[in-house]
């Protein structure tokens, strides 16, 4: 018990990093994913190809390397970013690609009749997407979106490559020092708590969309 109390300050310090990386990424990547999804599904051939390339490259390489590239690679062309900025950019660009695909799946599962009804009523593409399609898509994609949000919680630990200290790194440091696995399991518990909160929030949101079938 004493050991666990001792490790708390360092762990909580790490938790702060974990939390801000999580919230900022979730906040920006989901809307970006929606926008990218509309571009991916646009009629414009060039845009389609561009988005496919974006998705391939971003999903195709580890986030770890993307972090390294943005932080260590961009200075070679004169773009020098702060650690925190580099982290947020890399995470948002990365996660948006996954959300793009999830939303694409959702959008394609909406029946053609919905688009046709919107069209003959004179709704613009924009109005159709945000008023008719998206609300129905959100209901359908909540479970996979939940998967990505939860993966994100754990991926935040990748910030270590840019020298930021998150909760997992705090645990590893302590684990090395105490030559014990206990700190790692405490970190696991902290993740579990955070993810239980995310799961709870997702469940609430699902219930909120339960008013229609």
């Amino acid at each position: 018990m004493v050991e666990i109390m001792e490790m708390m300050p360092l762990m909580l310090e790490g938790m702060k990093t974990t939390l801000w990386v999580f919230f900022l990424t979730a906040l920006f990547s989901i809307p970006l994913g929606m926008v990218a999804c509309t571009l991916r599904l646009s009629r414009n051939r060039a845009l389609q190809t561009l988005m496919q390339a974006y998705i391939l490259v971003v999903r195709g390489t580890p986030l770890l390397l993307q972090l390294i590239f943005i932080y260590f690679g961009l200075p070679l062309v004169g773009v020098r970013l702060d650690r925190e900025v580099a982290v947020v950019i890399a995470f948002v660009v990365n996660y948006a690609a996954y959300y793009t695909e999830i939303f694409r799946g959702g959008v394609l599962s909406i029946s053609l009749g919905q688009y046709e009804a919107a069209k003959v009523l004179g709704l613009s593409k924009f109005q159709t997407f945000f008023g008719i399609v998206l609300p129905q898509v959100v209901k359908r994609v909540l479970p996979p979106v939940g998967n990505e949000l939860i993966t994100l919680v754990k991926d935040t630990s990748l910030v270590y490559v840019l020298g930021l200290g998150d909760v997992l790194r705090a645990a590893k440091t302590l684990s090395n020092k105490q030559a014990s696995l206990v700190p790692l399991f405490v970190a696991g518990l902290l993740y579990l708590l955070l993810i239980a909160a995310v799961t709870f929030f997702l469940k609430k949101t699902e219930n909120r969309y339960d008013y229609y079938r």
């Binding site: 260590f72 270590y160 490559v161 020298g163 590893k172 440091t173 684990s175 090395n176 105490q178 030559a179």
Partner: protein
């Protein structure tokens, strides 16, 4: 936990004829895989020689460095031999052989830096590897309060730390002398400067499971013999260009 189930496995090892040596196979130049997947490095050659003298064959098992003591106590490996720094905390879990190498925590800056001594690190960004003995040394001196943001910038590998140094985002890197030496030699001597002052000395030893007293004893004998007959020195010269074995 400190379970008293410690038992001597020497008889098993002898019967098997092999000893499993756990190491982080990304740790250049102590123990790592070469381009062909062959295990090599200073510690590896030392282990082959020492265990050979004991009539045993080493089997090199890559492990996650964070889990080394766990691997040892669950008997997945028999030795930790990989630039393993002797510390008091580790002594509680593991037995160490007599030290075979001295190591310093050197301070490396860019050649053109205005930092000339430890005192000049005040207010500057200083980086090192996470969970490293360099970090432990800095913490032991309580030096980090003086650094920029009152903290050390920690990287997963020294590679990243040195790259950040080159990018100019940190002003100094504190690293194992042995590693720093290897790194500087590979990246180009002229770029860097090593300060006279350092963050203290430490010793490398081989980690042996508590209870394996026979193995520990025989290993110490073999290492002493190698130091005496110059074969340890030969391996050191091959890897470091000079004899640094103590």
């Amino acid at each position: 936990g400190k379970k008293e189930t410690a038992s001597d496995t020497w008889a098993d090892l002898e019967a098997r004829g092999t000893v499993i040596v756990g190491l982080d196979d990304t740790f250049v130049p102590m123990g790592f895989k070469d381009e062909n997947g062959q295990m090599t490095g200073f510690d590896v050659e030392l282990a082959v020689e020492a265990l050979g003298r004991m009539g045993l064959e080493p089997v090199f098992q890559p492990i996650d460095w964070n889990l080394k003591e766990t691997e040892l106590s669950s008997k997945n490996i028999d030795l930790i031999w990989n630039g393993y720094t002797i510390t008091e905390e580790r002594r509680e879990k593991v037995n160490f052989t007599t030290p075979y190498l001295d190591n310093q925590q050197s301070i490396v800056v860019l050649a053109g830096s205005d930092i000339m001594d430890k005192a000049a690190l005040e207010g500057r960004a200083v980086a090192t590897q996470n969970s490293s003995s360099a970090l432990a040394a800095i913490e032991a001196e309580g030096a980090m309060e003086a650094f920029k943001d009152g903290n050390v910038v920690l990287f997963d590998t020294y590679n990243d730390a040195f790259m950040d140094l080159e990018a100019g985002r940190v002003d100094a890197v504190v690293a194992d002398e042995i590693l720093a030496r290897y790194y500087i030699a590979t990246r180009g001597e002229a770029q860097y400067r090593v300060l006279e002052e350092d963050f203290g000395d430490e010793e490398y030893g081989v980690g042996v499971r508590k209870g394996d007293e026979t193995l520990l004893e025989k290993l110490n004998e073999a290492l002493d013999a190698m130091k005496a007959d110059g074969s340890a020195a030969a391996i050191s010269e091959k890897w470091f260009g000079e004899n640094i074995v103590k």
